[in-house]
């Protein structure tokens, strides 16, 4: 509904009631007990940014060491710990929690026309678990001066106690198991929210494409995390209790580690990139000023990428000596997964061509995303040529490939999204010229850092080397990459400086500065705690482009229909057609998520230090906390 329109006194009274019902306590107390998906999204945002900083520093140390041959900036152990931590931090503590926890949490209920996620306390719980796992991991490293040094995929037998003594690998394993609980819980929450909490009329063919991406990500997390969890459990059983899974002498197999890891690891890369697709498909229609072309194909493609992505894992193992038939199967499957991606690329491009694009900062970042994604995608296709993969795997060529995808294709849309939704979240507009400049610097920095890696990989430079000799032809490329990394850092600082400055000094932005199509643009900037004064009704995927529907919403606000100001309520829908199904009473602020997460953090902390009995006691307290959590029940739901 149009937000700036004059409302009648009864409507205003309803809004006041909503404000009272939905307001949370002030100050720190409010943040610790919050169940508001927007606040949880912001908590995720700032926490993941801190980890991005840590991962970035780790990267800069790596690049500085590699600037010249035979450098002595870092000793081999420090270097090995840094590249391990860089990978682990960026993947598990930055990109997934940022895209799913920050962007997903903030935007999904808004885009669905709901007042919160399906399980608000579970949402807070997933954040506190995430924070706990990060604090445990980094705190453990700091306290013990031991970090894993085996690489982010930590192959067996290098990961066993004999070759990696000390606590580093244990931190890695237990920390990631713990982190996985947070992601699993979040995934369940997103699926139920997207299935059940849609605004009336939002049938599946009217579901915004960002939500399709989040749905694909959530299902992927649900099915991809278990193999990793089991692999890590096996590892800890072997390291701590002497079990045998990966050692040949007692009937184990080191390749078992790899199979289970990559069963997780490949879907993981689609989990990383799918939200970026979702952000791109949100920004493009807005700035191209037209609907996304081939909407059903794009939605289907997002789901297909996730699905087919489960069948390709052994392409990470082409050099291990598997049977040729096996290799060929996985190469064929890997080629199949290309097609849903290329459909999307051309849908984006033709939407821009047939629209009237305004190349403001968000769209520039999407342009950069497309450039990098295509390059990364092309090199990805090259890896499906098995003999070529067998030359270039484990070299800088593959480092180039995945950084083009992870940084170029997954992170660029994040920056575009940060600019795009900045006015919605803060109520202020960012500085446009500065933002565009920040794009160009970041783009050049990214290209200069990662493109030469293709070349130096072809020239034979393996990955994960703490130094390299001069005279093999790698020197100038490495130096350029380091220079590029510093430029890239400069670009990133420009972006964050812009956002920080604009937060306090930017001009006030209204509800709808870009005239985007999805529901978040129909409410105030920032949105009130209850998101919408009246639950909107939807007849297309671009509700903000349907003025008659928004007018009808305003009339319903006046009449008190679906305002739901009698309690802390939102609507539930049927899964396929989005028909109004029932009114749900939602929980409000609660200590239980934080308390339960703290107990679980304690469990893992004591497992790490091998105090199994104390860990058991905390398991008991966690169980009691869960009982407390479920003590009070919501009111009986009303029929719709």
């Amino acid at each position: 509904m149009a937000v700036d329109v004059e409302l009648s006194p009864p409507a205003i009274a309803r809004i006041r009631r909503l404000e009272r019902i939905w307001e949370e306590p002030r100050g720190v107390l409010g943040w610790l007990t919050t169940t508001d998906h927007k606040r949880i999204g912001l908590l995720y945002f700032f926490t993941t940014l801190a980890f991005f900083g840590a991962g970035g520093i780790e990267a800069m140390l790596i690049r500085t060491q590699l600037a010249v041959p035979n450098a002595k900036v870092l000793d081999p152990n420090a270097y090995d710990e840094l590249f391990t931590l860089h990978g682990v931090t960026m993947i598990f503590f930055f990109i997934i929690p940022m895209t799913v926890g920050a962007f997903g949490n903030y935007l999904v209920p808004l885009m669905l026309g709901a007042r919160d996620m399906a399980f608000p306390r579970l949402n807070a719980f997933s954040y506190w678990l995430f924070l706990g796992s990060g604090v445990l991991l980094y705190g453990g490293f700091a306290a013990s001066s031991q970090a894993p040094a085996c690489g982010w995929f930590c192959y067996a037998p290098l990961n066993t106690a004999g070759y990696s003594p000390g606590h580093g690998v244990d931190f890695y394993a237990l920390g990631l198991i713990f982190n996985g609980i947070s992601s699993t819980v979040a995934a369940i929450n997103f699926i139920v929210t997207i299935f059940k909490l849609r605004a009336p009329g939002m049938s599946l063919n009217r579901l915004p494409l960002f939500n399709y991406a989040m749905l694909a990500v959530s299902f992927s997390l649900l099915f991809a995390l278990p193999p990793l969890t089991i692999d890590l459990v096996f590892l800890e059983l072997q390291r701590k209790l002497g079990f045998h899974f990966f050692d040949v002498a007692h009937g184990g197999d080191p390749l078992l580690w790899q199979h289970l890891f990559w069963l997780f690891g490949h879907p993981e890369v689609y989990i990383i990139v799918l939200p970026a697709f979702g952000i791109a498909t949100s920004i493009i229609p807005t700035f191209a000023k037209r609907r996304m072309l081939a909407f059903p194909l794009v939605a289907l493609a997002e789901l297909l990428v996730a699905f087919i992505g489960f069948g390709v894992w052994a392409h990470h193992m082409f050099a291990t000596g598997l049977a040729t038939t096996t290799l060929v199967f996985f190469a064929a499957a890997s080629m199949m997964v290309v097609v849903p991606s290329t459909i999307q690329i051309f849908a984006w491009l033709f939407t821009v061509v047939t629209g009237r694009p305004e190349f403001r900062a968000p769209l520039l970042f999407i342009g950069g995303f497309i450039v990098f994604f295509v390059i990364g995608g092309i090199t990805g296709i090259m890896f499906a040529a098995i003999p070529f993969d067998q030359q270039t795997t484990d070299t800088y060529f593959v480092v180039a490939h995945f950084h083009f995808i992870i940084f170029g294709a997954a992170v660029f849309p994040l920056f575009g999204g940060m600019y795009y939704w900045f006015p919605k979240v803060t109520g202020r507009m960012y500085h446009e010229r500065w933002a565009q400049a920040s794009f160009w610097v970041t783009f050049v920095g990214t290209a200069l850092t990662f493109f030469p890696m293709h070349i130096v990989g072809l020239l034979g430079m393996p990955r994960r080397v703490y130094t390299y000799p001069s005279g093999v032809g790698w020197d100038s490329y490495n130096l350029s990459e380091t220079v590029g990394a510093y430029i890239l850092t400069g670009g990133l600082l420009m972006i964050f400086a812009n956002l920080a400055w604009s937060r306090f000094r930017g001009p006030v932005a209204g509800a709808d500065p870009f005239h985007g199509g999805t529901l978040e643009w129909t409410t105030t900037s920032p949105p009130p705690p209850y998101n919408f004064p009246v639950i909107p009704e939807v007849t297309s995927p671009y509700p903000n482009w349907d003025p008659p529907d928004r007018e009808r919403d305003r009339r319903r606000l006046e009449r008190g229909q679906l305002v739901l100001d009698a309690g802390h309520e939102t609507t539930a829908s049927t899964v396929r057609d989005g028909l109004l199904d029932e009114i749900l009473e939602m929980p409000s602020e609660s200590w239980w998520p934080l308390v339960t997460a703290a107990c679980i953090t304690a469990i893992f902390a004591f497992l790490l230090t091998s105090h199994f009995a104390i860990a058991g006691i905390f398991a008991l307290t966690a169980a009691l906390a869960v009982v407390g959590w479920h003590w009070r029940e919501p009111e009986e739901p009303e029929p719709a």
Binding site: V339, P357, V374, I375, Q391, G460
Partner: protein
């Protein structure tokens, strides 16, 4: 402070010296060209979008239906055709050239066992044992049979063939068939711990008679020390703990932890191709291995300067 190692041997996958790596290199260049064409198309479309930003349809007319047809054509049709072609070329044909050599199709076998952080090389037919440097005859199909003694390593000589992982409990085979004489650099390509960066090796493709001469020399037991200094060196070697880790055939030293040193002086590099094999480098290495290659398994033995000089003289005589 070890001097930088200057190497003329190459490690480039686009500088092939065998049929197998030639096929891969060719594949690479074609994929690269096709890739640039695809990329150019995307850049073209982006530029078109910007150029025609004030007009809301396709350049030659046509509304959403036409645009969707383009999307399906370019997004589904073209990839399917190109990918199928690539699949057949690379994964049906080229893969035959890079697959493990068939039983009985090779004239020579060399077993390579990966260790943290050096390469053990054995020629089963002739009983030759050496380390970090492999010799093969030019224009001859040689099977390298690889495994590991500890963690996963990867055997990789880019100019001769693809890489093959060395996995505990498995023996994997790869073909080495150099088309011309030369020296080729190989490097471990699976992260294996602290000194993964310094685990490389050299493959010498020699003309057949030179290879035979090399093989014969390697078969002989170690040379007896000629000078008094070298004799003293041999005594130091056998009495300090060197023999616990190293073998010198023809002496009582039979340790199997570190490289076989029987013909150490015939090799061009030390410490898995990390430093050149000169007396001064060898001396620095023995005096303080941890300084050259921190974290490697060889301890400093605390030899006196005289003892060190003697050992170096002895080892330098083991051609």
């Amino acid at each position: 402070m070890p001097p930088a190692l200057h190497l003329s041997p190459g490690q480039s996958s686009v500088h092939p010296a065998s049929h197998a790596s030639q096929e891969i290199s060719h594949l690479w260049w074609m994929m690269m060209i096709a890739g640039w064409i695809g990329f150019a198309l995307v850049v073209f479309l982006l530029t078109l979008g910007w150029w025609r930003r004030n007009r809301a349809n396709l350049p030659f007319g046509g509304g959403d239906r036409a645009a969707t047809a383009w999307i399906v054509g370019l997004g589904v049709g073209v990839p399917i055709v190109l990918l199928s072609a690539l699949f057949v070329w690379a994964d049906v044909f080229v893969i035959n050239s890079t697959a493990a050599p068939r039983e009985g199709s090779t004239r020579l076998t060399v077993d390579v066992i990966g260790h943290d952080w050096w390469w053990e090389a054995r020629y089963p037919a002739s009983g030759v044992v050496t380390a970090n440097e492999i010799h093969i005859p030019v224009g001859t199909r040689v099977a390298a049979v690889v495994t590991t003694g500890d963690v996963i390593h990867s055997f990789w000589v880019p100019e001769l063939n693809r890489k093959i992982d060395m996995i505990p409990g498995r023996r994997s085979e790869i073909l080495l068939d150099a088309e011309h004489a030369g020296v080729f650099r190989g490097q471990c390509a699976e992260f294996c711990g602290l000194q993964h960066a310094h685990m490389s090796f050299l493959v010498y493709a020699d003309p057949p008679d030179r290879f035979r001469a090399w093989l014969k020399a390697q078969q002989r037991p170690s040379a007896a020390p000629a000078s008094a200094l070298a004799r003293r060196g041999k005594d130091v070697f056998l009495s300090a703990s060197c023999a616990d880790c190293h073998t010198i055939r023809g002496t009582s030293a039979d340790g199997e932890v570190g490289p076989d040193l029987t013909h150490l002086a015939s090799r061009s590099t030390l410490a898995a191709n990390t430093i050149p094999n000169t007396p001064s480098e060898l001396s620095d290495w023995i005096r303080d291995p941890q300084h050259v290659k921190p974290g490697n398994r060889m301890p400093a033995l605390g030899l006196s300067p005289d003892a060190l000089k003697a050992v170096v003289a002895y080892l330098d005589s083991l051609r």
